[in-house]
């Protein structure tokens, strides 16, 4: 039998929840397998499944007759299921171990373990979902955090498709105007002036730009935001790093210049995945190895999404502090005044001019005071970084981002051409290119829609 027709099974936890797990079976053997493994609650008699009816019962090992778990079973006959095949879902409330046992039982009875995303692939092949929805499912599977998962779900519900659809509509209206004026040249059908066309094209560019930006940051969301700890030696960067990561990862000593290389680690702060980077203290040094470390630190500070500029609150501010603050002036992040368990030598007022837009927080890596506030501030900043200024974040994967970028470039070129009084029918070539890329996301064809637009907008014809 071809691989595509085999009956497959997998654990599929309902999205967003964790208490109940589902084992899903799809394929022509699904019902036969259910008949073998699903019994009444006592485990004695076979339990008949009705299409779409939810049945309570127990799952038994078809070879040993052993009771595996209690479960709810639902049968979804083809072609009305997600995959358009016969599907049975067993909802069990056990943990991973029990779910795995249920899965094993099902596989013993003739199913094959599904490959990652295989259910989705079948649904896509069956025409059940469009490309961007299929990809969203894959994203859900891969998403590292709840927030990322929420975004992926929004996409699954069609957020990306909807927004791309809106832009696509706008481009279609433009093309309808251009095409109508070409095909019906001596009819006064009232098409847009070139100036208005240019404006509309530019609108699409900014909408695409926004989508690309939010899409980009959604990538940040999935892959995490990078946060660098910067500051002169011995201010407590490594101590803060350890406090945030929650383990002793970086070496802490009272010798300035302890950290000589970049250290990074993944952590989740308030549900947001963050790549935390500890660096060598920033100062002028003659030690070659430390010098390399300092250079690397500068580079990290440059590339990171966010910065924590660490100051030793028990010492007066010095030039090295000011240099460091100046260097990260334009970055968003916080100024962390550390060692607040000791007597303060730093006045907040004197820091403000050097802090840029960064909030100034007092804390102690030693006692843990203020660390929660630091975490909250970082999480907020990370989310802001991710969602940018826009209210509706969308999840876009690499392929979709590329398509969006291409569409944006083409619309830019068309707007540019129009504003340089290039004939609209030539600018249209770029618009069609943009449409091509937008359709790569939604998987539709433009031509029929365009005809529809032309005729609904204009009174045409002799």
């Amino acid at each position: 039998m071809s691989k595509d027709r085999e009956t497959i099974a997998a654990i599929s936890t309902p999205l967003g929840e964790g208490a109940i797990g589902i084992v899903r079976v799809s394929g022509s053997l699904a019902f036969a397998i259910a008949n073998k493994v699903f019994r009444d609650p006592s485990g004695q008699r076979q339990r008949e499944l009705k299409p779409w009816g939810v049945r309570y019962g127990s799952i038994v090992d078809c070879e040993t007759g052993e009771h595996v778990d209690e479960a709810l079973a639902v049968a979804m006959p083809a072609p009305h299921s997600f995959t358009r095949e016969d599907v049975v879902e067993f909802s069990c409330h056990g943990g991973v171990a029990v779910l795995t046992r249920v899965l094993e039982t099902v596989i013993k009875c003739g199913a094959r373990l599904a490959e990652p995303g295989e259910f989705t692939k079948r649904a896509f092949l069956a025409g059940r979902i469009d490309l961007s929805q299929a990809e969203a499912v894959i994203d859900v599977i891969r998403a590292k955090t709840d927030s990322a998962r929420r975004l992926a779900l929004a996409n699954l519900r069609g957020e990306l498709s909807t927004r791309v659809g809106r832009i696509r509509d706008n481009v279609l209206v433009l093309l309808a105007h251009i095409e109508a004026s070409i095909d019906f040249p001596d009819e006064d059908i009232g098409v847009l002036e070139v100036k208005d066309m240019t404006e509309r094209a530019q609108e699409s560019v900014s909408e695409l730009n926004e989508l690309v930006r939010t899409g980009m940051s959604s990538r940040v969301y999935r892959d995490g935001v990078s946060v660098v700890l910067a500051g002169r030696p011995n201010v407590g960067k490594s101590s803060l790093f350890n406090a945030l990561v929650g383990k002793m990862r970086a070496i802490v000593t009272d010798i300035p210049g302890t950290t000589r290389d970049v250290i990074d680690d993944w952590t989740t702060i308030k549900g947001v995945p963050i790549r935390l980077v500890d660096t060598a203290g920033m100062r002028k040094t003659r030690d070659l190895i430390e010098k390399l470390g300092v250079e690397a630190a500068n580079q990290q500070a440059e590339e990171a999404d966010l910065v924590v500029a660490v100051i030793d609150g028990s010492r007066p501010i010095c030039d090295e502090d000011r240099d460091m603050l100046l260097q990260v002036m334009d970055k968003s992040g916080v100024v962390a005044v550390n060692k607040c368990d000791l007597e303060s030598e730093v006045e907040e007022g004197s820091l403000i001019p050097h802090a840029g837009d960064k909030r100034i927080l007092r804390m102690s890596a030693k006692t843990g005071e203020g660390i929660n506030e630091l975490e909250q501030a970082l999480a907020d900043l990370a989310v802001a970084e991710i969602t940018g200024a826009c209210e509706n974040p969308v999840m876009a994967n690499l392929r979709q981002l590329e398509a969006l970028e291409n569409a944006m470039r083409s619309m830019e070129e068309s707007a540019h051409a129009l504003s340089n009084s290039v004939s609209p029918d030539l600018a249209a070539i770029d618009m069609y290119e943009a449409l091509f890329w937008l359709d790569q996301i939604t998987g539709r064809s433009a031509s029929e829609d365009l005809m529809e637009k032309i005729f609904s907008e204009f009174c045409i014809g002799k």
């Binding site: 595509d4 896509f124 469009d130 490309l131 019906f184 091509f436 009174c459 002799k462």
Partner: protein, 632 residues
């Protein structure tokens, strides 16, 4: 023994081109027409060309068809439209002297050696027990035998004319309708659709108050429709423009209950681009006026067609409407407008080479395939004629791609997507119009026409010379470096463009929007005088090189799907992962390539993925190896 190689039924624009092409390729052809007066008739607007259609006429000419030469010989007025826009959409349009047009076409048919024309009413298509076409039988019971038959019956098939509450069985222009053929097509299990189209009233020229209208003169141009024509006629006549008024619209609204379109008497689908005045007034209530074009039908000009005023309202209402239009206050209607309903094939019944899939040897062309327009019809006639001959000779069909010709787009649209309304060509249907221009139709197609035996030696030589001139001039301009001396710089400033950096070629200069071929004459010392139709192509190719390159890469992108053939033996019912709709549509259309499959409406990208997966797995190949020719 068979009487003829090919029988063409119908003498309209499709029938004429079909018969001529087949005869010129050496087949013996019989053309059966309802009457000499319906040869190449223009029952609707007496005009040819316009956006999309001009390109088709040029393509017909490039392939060796007749329409372009015929209109060049018989126009009253010619204009170049869209000159304010890019070169891809520049389009010729001509007002025809319809009598002269028909007369010349009759002469051409008459003079063609392998072609016989007979007036006869075909009532029966003869089909062998194996389902192969054998010939036709006329109403009088006369039988003509031929292995191929081309049906080009226009709107005569089951035609029904509507004027107000009067309706009667008829073809256009009071010709008899052909009812028997409809039945026959049904008997052949072919799916039919019912379409409608409309015409405007015609009025007496002497009754027009021209003072109240606007003149529309023709243009003087260095070319005509045919690549053999090198200038326009001096004796062009004027057309006129006027507008409907609020009063016109009130009359229409008050009489809507008498409009067969609105009473439900007409059920056929009409074209959206050619709405009746009733429809325009009702669907665009904000518009204060609509254009009315006064188009003389002949040089003598007694009869004037009212373009834009298509209607099927009763005659007395038509009179009121006409009289409410400035300039037509006293106009006398010579022939009222009418709507005509007719039967046509659902075009997915036919193959990309215009052969009816279920009836080998039977070809169809023109309105019977669901199109509207003389040019659309003629081009299909030409293609059907060519393919009928190729079939007789056992050769591969001649099919043009979407990236090769408007004709390719037209036929691909029809046979792939079908059509829900009479199909009219528009430039917006053509993805690659910057490379499919009217000025380069010969460069695209004349080689093919010559290979088919349709383009005579002499004409081919003329073409080859033109092509050589274009290529040489392009090469010369690309390699000639602009000198950096003071005189040159001054000239460039004079024509309003920046001075050049070193190593700039004349070709580079031409790509600047403000620079024209003409404006460079003074600094282009080696230039020799070339025909304008040559320099036009050269200038376009250089000026729009950037956009042309973009378009070429778009074409390349689609080629992978287009060239990926689908084996003829494919069984869509066996392919896992196809939706039911896709399965049905794919089976019905029987696409030749993945590209064509992807264009079928109802076939989703997911279906294509499944199809590719199937073709890749090789499960079909075993079957294919056992002698299935993927050919064609």
């Amino acid at each position: 023994m068979l009487d003829y190689d090919i029988i063409v039924v119908g003498g309209g624009h499709a029938g004429c081109e079909a018969a001529l092409a087949a005869a010129r390729m050496g087949a013996t052809v019989l053309l059966l027409t309802l009457g000499w007066e319906s040869i190449a008739d223009m029952p609707c607007n007496p005009s040819l060309g316009g956006p999309g259609k001009a390109q088709i006429i040029r393509e017909i000419d490039a392939l060796g068809g007749e329409m372009a030469r015929n209109i060049d010989d018989a126009y009253l007025q010619i204009r170049l439209l869209n000159t304010g826009k890019g070169p891809a959409v520049h389009s010729l349009r001509a007002q025809a002297d319809k009598d002269a047009y028909q007369a010349r076409m009759r002469e051409i048919l008459d003079a063609e050696e392998n072609l016989a024309v007979e007036v006869s009413h075909v009532e029966e298509i003869l089909v062998s027990r194996e389902g192969q076409v054998r010939g036709v039988e006329t109403r009088e019971g006369k039988v003509y035998l031929a292995p191929t038959v081309i049906l080009a019956t226009g709107t005569y098939l089951g035609g029904r004319v509507f004027i107000g509450d009067v309706s009667y069985s008829s073809g256009p222009h009071g010709q008899p309708a052909s009812t028997g053929l409809t039945k026959i097509l049904r008997n052949l299990r072919l799916e039919l659709a019912r379409f409608k189209t409309g015409t405007s009233p015609r009025i007496a020229r002497a009754s027009i108050n021209f003072r109240n209208t606007k003149q529309q003169p023709g243009h003087i141009l260095p070319f005509g429709f045919s690549f053999e024509t090198h200038g326009t006629r001096g004796d062009q006549v004027l057309c006129y423009l006027t507008y409907t008024t609020r009063k016109t619209h009130d009359i229409i609204k008050a009489n809507l209950s008498k409009a067969p379109l609105y009473t439900g008497a007409i059920t056929g689908r009409g074209p959206r681009y050619c709405p009746s005045i009733e429809t325009k007034v009702m669907e665009f209530p904000d518009r204060e006026r609509h254009q009315v074009f006064l188009e003389p039908e002949t040089r003598a000009g007694e009869i004037v067609y009212l373009g834009g005023l298509s209607t099927s309202l009763p005659l007395d209402t038509q009179r009121e409407i006409v009289h409410s239009v400035p300039g037509l206050e006293d106009a006398e209607i010579v022939r009222p407008g009418y709507a005509i309903e007719y039967d046509c094939l659902v075009p997915t019944e036919i193959s990309p080479w215009l052969e009816v899939k279920k009836v080998p040897g039977l070809f169809t062309a023109g309105q019977i395939n669901g199109t509207s327009g003389y040019e659309e019809a003629a081009s299909q006639g030409l293609m059907a004629g060519i393919n009928a001959v190729l079939k007789l000779r056992g050769r591969e069909p001649f099919v043009l791609g979407r990236s090769e010709a408007y004709i390719g787009v037209l036929i691909d649209d029809l046979v792939t997507k079908g059509t829900k309304e009479p199909y009219r060509m528009m430039t917006s249907r053509v993805e690659y119009r910057l490379t499919l221009r009217q000025d380069n139709a010969d460069l695209r197609l004349t080689d093919k026409g010559f290979a088919l035996g349709l383009v005579p030696e002499e004409r081919y030589e003329m073409f080859s010379k033109r092509r050589r001139q274009i290529q040489d001039e392009l090469a010369r301009l690309k390699t000639t470096i602009v000198p950096g001396d003071a005189a040159t710089t001054r000239h460039l400033e004079e024509i309003g463009t920046m001075p050049v950096q070193s190593q700039t070629s004349l070709g580079d200069l031409l790509s600047r929007p403000e620079v024209s071929y003409q404006s460079l004459a003074a600094i282009d010392k080696d230039r020799v005088k070339l025909p304008e139709d040559v320099t036009l192509v050269v200038e376009i190719e250089l000026k729009y090189a950037g956009y042309i390159r973009k378009q070429m890469s778009q074409i390349e992108r689609t080629q992978r799907l287009e060239t990926r053939r689908i084996p003829r033996s494919i069984e869509y019912s066996l392919i896992h992962g196809l939706s039911r709709e896709a399965r049905e549509k794919l089976t019905a259309v029987d696409p030749r390539s993945l590209g064509q499959a992807a264009r079928i409406s109802g076939v989703t990208p997911a279906d294509i993925v499944a199809l590719v997966a199937y073709l890749e797995t090789g499960s079909h190949r075993r079957k294919q190896d056992s002698g299935d020719a993927d050919g064609i």
